[in-house]
């Protein structure tokens, strides 16, 4: 039983940074912009949040600092890709490299001491329930925030006018411009939001998941988030499921390694990636549905006609 609880809660926690980062990227891509720099933005968020904690700021302030750092990093991408119409792939890769370099530079002064991790919440009554309490009601607040973001973003995209505007800009910025929407401004907002979400994801890693600073501590999670968006065919619910699947496989393979299974550990480590991709590919075979959710102008630069 304890093992089950450990695997379940471990899954949810491991999925949380992916949920933040992938949902943020979803909003960016829905607006027709491809930001490959999630990894860099996460690292910036992680570094800044960690620094804020060691400098004595409160936990919420530190997490906010992480989000702001991610947004600031994304602004760099925005200026390159949206104002100067640089190739979005190149600008995103540059951001990924830049973020990892800058965070490593900042992190040199951090030392290797762990900090005190973000606490779990204590809901009255609920957290004390047997089984249900440890399973559902003792997570740290960021886990609940990630779920709230999922609900909010799904609602925003498919139930609000602003969400419709965002999606249609992703289909055809020319048409959006023709009917009077400020395409570039809206794309900037989407990019900044995505940056802030990636920053949150990074902050979660450095102040909650593994509360210490290690260079390049995201270990490719930014790239996974990117892949999740694609394999989830740009749909929020599938991103959530994909993140959980990935988190679950990560935890399982760790358990497997701990039990000393007779399988090469490299293979076990590859398992989460493989399983996630296979499952998401299997559920997204319908071409027509794919075309419906894919932002048709993804990564194409846009300049209003003159």
């Amino acid at each position: 039983m304890d093992l089950f609880i450990a695997i379940f809660t471990g899954t949810i926690i491991a999925a949380t940074p992916l949920i933040f980062a992938a949902l943020g990227e979803l909003v960016v891509e829905k607006s027709g912009v491809l930001n490959l720099g999630i990894e860099g933005m996460m690292l910036m968020g992680a570094a800044l949040a960690f620094w804020a904690v060691t400098a004595g700021y409160s936990m919420p302030a530190a997490i906010l600092a992480g989000a702001l750092a991610g947004a600031a990093a994304s602004l760099l991408f925005g200026v390159l890709a949206l104002t100067f119409l640089t190739n979005q792939y190149a600008a995103g890769l540059a951001l990924a490299i830049f973020g990892s370099g800058v965070s490593a530079f900042l992190g040199r002064g951090f030392g290797s001491e762990p900090i005190e991790a973000l606490h779990g919440v204590d809901f009255p009554v609920l957290s004390g329930l047997p089984l249900i309490g440890p399973l559902l009601f003792r997570f740290d607040p960021m886990v609940y925030l990630a779920l709230a973001m999922f609900v909010a973003i799904s609602w925003f995209l498919y139930r609000t006018k602003a969400g419709l505007v965002l999606r249609t800009i992703g289909e055809s910025p020319q048409t959006s411009h023709a009917i009077g929407y400020p395409v570039i401004r809206i794309r900037y907002m989407a990019v900044l939001f995505g940056g802030a979400m990636a920053g949150l994801a990074g902050a979660y890693l450095s102040v909650a998941y593994t509360p210490l600073w290690v260079e390049n501590m995201t270990a490719g999670k930014g790239w996974i988030a990117l892949a999740l968006v694609v394999f989830a065919t740009w749909r929020p619910l599938r991103i959530l499921l994909g993140a959980w699947l990935f988190g679950g496989m990560t935890i399982l393979q760790l358990q497997g390694q701990a039990l000393g299974l007779e399988v090469p550990s490299e293979l076990l480590s590859a398992l989460p990636y493989l399983a996630t991709i296979i499952v998401l590919v299997l559920i997204s075979r319908n071409r027509q549905m794919l075309a419906l959710h894919f932002p048709a102008s993804l990564a194409k630069p846009f300049r209003p006609a003159s």
């Binding site: 609000t160 006018k161 419709l164 505007v165 999606r167 249609t168 289909e171 055809s172 048409t175 411009h177 023709a178 009917i179 009077g180 929407y181 400020p182 075309a291 419906l292 048709a296 209003p304 006609a305 003159s306």
Partner: protein, 515 residues
């Protein structure tokens, strides 16, 4: 009192052309003002400049006496200017109601907006189902959506760039009623059309453009269409010669008992469709768009295949199961109704666009594109069809609407097909060029090709077709011989009313058309 809109000395150049050259005009409140001109005269460019979708190189714009500096569509809409684009501004991946909600100022509540759209569109004689996805709509239906979208707002200046090019005659009548009422309430309207009779019926004044310059103004109601045409073209209109058809023994296209379910519940099922087209004759398919034309065209062109291969035969070969490229090998050429997107790739050059369908005529060798040949081929079309373009290397999207249409029709005719399937052949083409395109189609058929023309425009069908079919709710009527039928009979069949036996001048058997 200030004019609602005043343009002073507007100039706009594109690489290789002066689209607008020192254009000035004024439009009063409540005035319906026509802008006339040949394809490529600069009408759409001028409209985009008024709306802020393009910026003039020089010149001034005044709205109600106030100068309008560096503006964009957003500021124009804030000023009360609305525009129906020639190449619609709709999003394909979302529904009609969502498209309209994007430019509505009302609260974002789709169910109530959908109700309003349904009701208003019926009142305007342009019924649309608000819940359909735009990518499933025919161009005629898209045009209705565009117009209804503008009418839902209360504009002060309404720009209509060829709003009736694919609208049914009934809808045009209703649209004119609505426009007149809007004008009476003080809304100014700029109206662009190549249909001069419409302009004469509706417009108070007209400005004529030629090669970007204003060449005159007129009061259309007091001017004959011949005079108007002369102001536009600068010369006399070509005359049509339609010699009697010489149908071949064997049909080139045979459709027998073709029934098919629509792809989704918005489409129309085809019910037991049978007809044939012989070499040397032109058969017209008349009908209000959305009655199964899209399904039938998709099946004929090979975009969609059918399980029973001999349901469609091309020159005797069972073809219903063949792909589009295999049917092209049998001698089929096809002009789809959507010129941007399906007829041509907008961002590609003209010569690249010829390679898409002309691989048979030597532009592709051993899988490699022969660039010189393709360029020469494109240049030939540009020359023969008088397409106004900056050479074969200009992109498809830089052409004016009518010029792109001429190019696409020209490309297919230049293939010398055995069977030509053409949808809305003269959509947005000016009077002179329409006559030319029609003449070319007639010549092609008299040289032995079978031609099937799908159009909503009865005048066009009556001008060139030898036999007419009418499609309504997925059923195709028996053929009517043009010489022995009239617009009334066809119009009745289009609305799906059953005709009594003695009225049926030519068709054989019973007409399976009901309400």
């Amino acid at each position: 009192m200030h004019p609602r809109l005043e343009l002073r000395n507007i100039c706009k150049r594109y690489p290789g052309v002066v689209a607008n050259d020192d254009v000035s005009l004024a439009i009063q409140p409540g005035e319906i003002h026509a802008v006339l001109g040949e394809n490529g005269a600069g009408k759409s460019t001028l409209m985009k400049i008024i709306y802020g979708a393009a910026q003039a190189d020089s010149g001034e714009i005044f709205c109600d006496g106030n100068p309008v500096a560096a503006h964009n569509p957003a500021t124009s809409r804030a000023l009360g200017i609305e525009m129906v684009y020639q190449h619609f501004a709709l999003f394909e991946s979302v529904s009609v109601v969502e498209n309209i909600a994007l430019s509505a100022s009302s609260a974002f509540h789709l169910p109530s907006l959908a109700e309003k759209i349904r009701e208003l569109s019926l009142r305007y004689g342009m019924p649309i189902d608000p819940h359909r996805q735009v990518h499933d709509l025919s161009v005629g239906e898209r045009q209705r959506v565009e117009i209804v979208r503008c009418l839902l707002r209360t504009p002060k200046l309404l720009i209509l760039d060829e709003p009736t090019s694919v609208l049914t005659p009934q809808a045009v009548v209703k649209l004119f009623e609505t426009l007149r009422q809007l004008a009476a309430e003080g809304c100014s309207i700029v109206y662009i059309s190549h249909k001069l009779d419409e302009v004469q019926e509706l417009c108070d004044t007209a400005t004529v453009l030629r090669n970007g310059k204003v060449t005159g103004t007129a009061r259309p109601k007091e001017t004959t269409s011949l005079e108007l045409a002369r102001m536009m073209v600068g010369s006399k209109l070509p005359e049509m010669h339609v010699s009697p058809p010489v149908p071949s023994e064997k049909p080139v296209l045979e459709v027998t008992n073709l029934s098919v379910k629509a792809r989704d519940h918005f489409g129309v099922d085809l019910k037991d469709v049978s007809f044939d087209v012989r070499g040397g004759e032109i058969v017209g398919l008349a009908g209000v768009s959305g009655n199964g034309q899209a399904e039938l065209i998709a099946l004929l062109s090979g975009e969609r295949t059918h399980g029973r291969s001999d349901a469609i035969r091309i020159s005797g070969t069972p073809a219903a199961g063949l792909r589009a490229d295999e049917r092209r090998k049998l001698g089929l050429a096809f002009v789809p109704e959507e010129r941007l997107g399906r007829g041509a790739v907008p961002s590609h050059t003209l010569w690249e666009n010829t390679v898409l369908t002309a691989h048979r005529s030597g532009t592709v060798r051993n899988g490699l594109v022969d660039r010189r040949k393709a360029s020469a081929f494109a240049a030939g079309i540009i020359d023969r069809f008088k397409v106004k373009a900056n050479g074969p290397a200009s992109t498809a999207q830089s052409l004016s609407g009518g010029n792109l249409q001429k190019f696409i029709v020209g490309r297919e005719i230049a293939l010398q097909p055995k069977l030509l399937l053409v949808s809305q052949p003269t959509w947005g083409v000016d009077v002179g060029a329409s006559a030319f395109i029609r003449q070319t189609i007639v010549d092609l058929s008299r040289a032995g090709a079978a031609v099937l023309v799908v159009s909503e425009e009865l005048d066009e069908l009556f001008e060139i077709c030898d036999r007419l079919l009418v499609i309504c709710q997925g059923r195709v009527s028996p053929p009517l011989v043009r010489k022995t039928t009239d617009r009334e009979e066809v119009g009745l069949l289009m609305t799906g009313r059953t005709m009594s036996k003695d009225q049926m001048a030519s068709g054989s058997g019973d007409v399976a058309l009901q309400d």
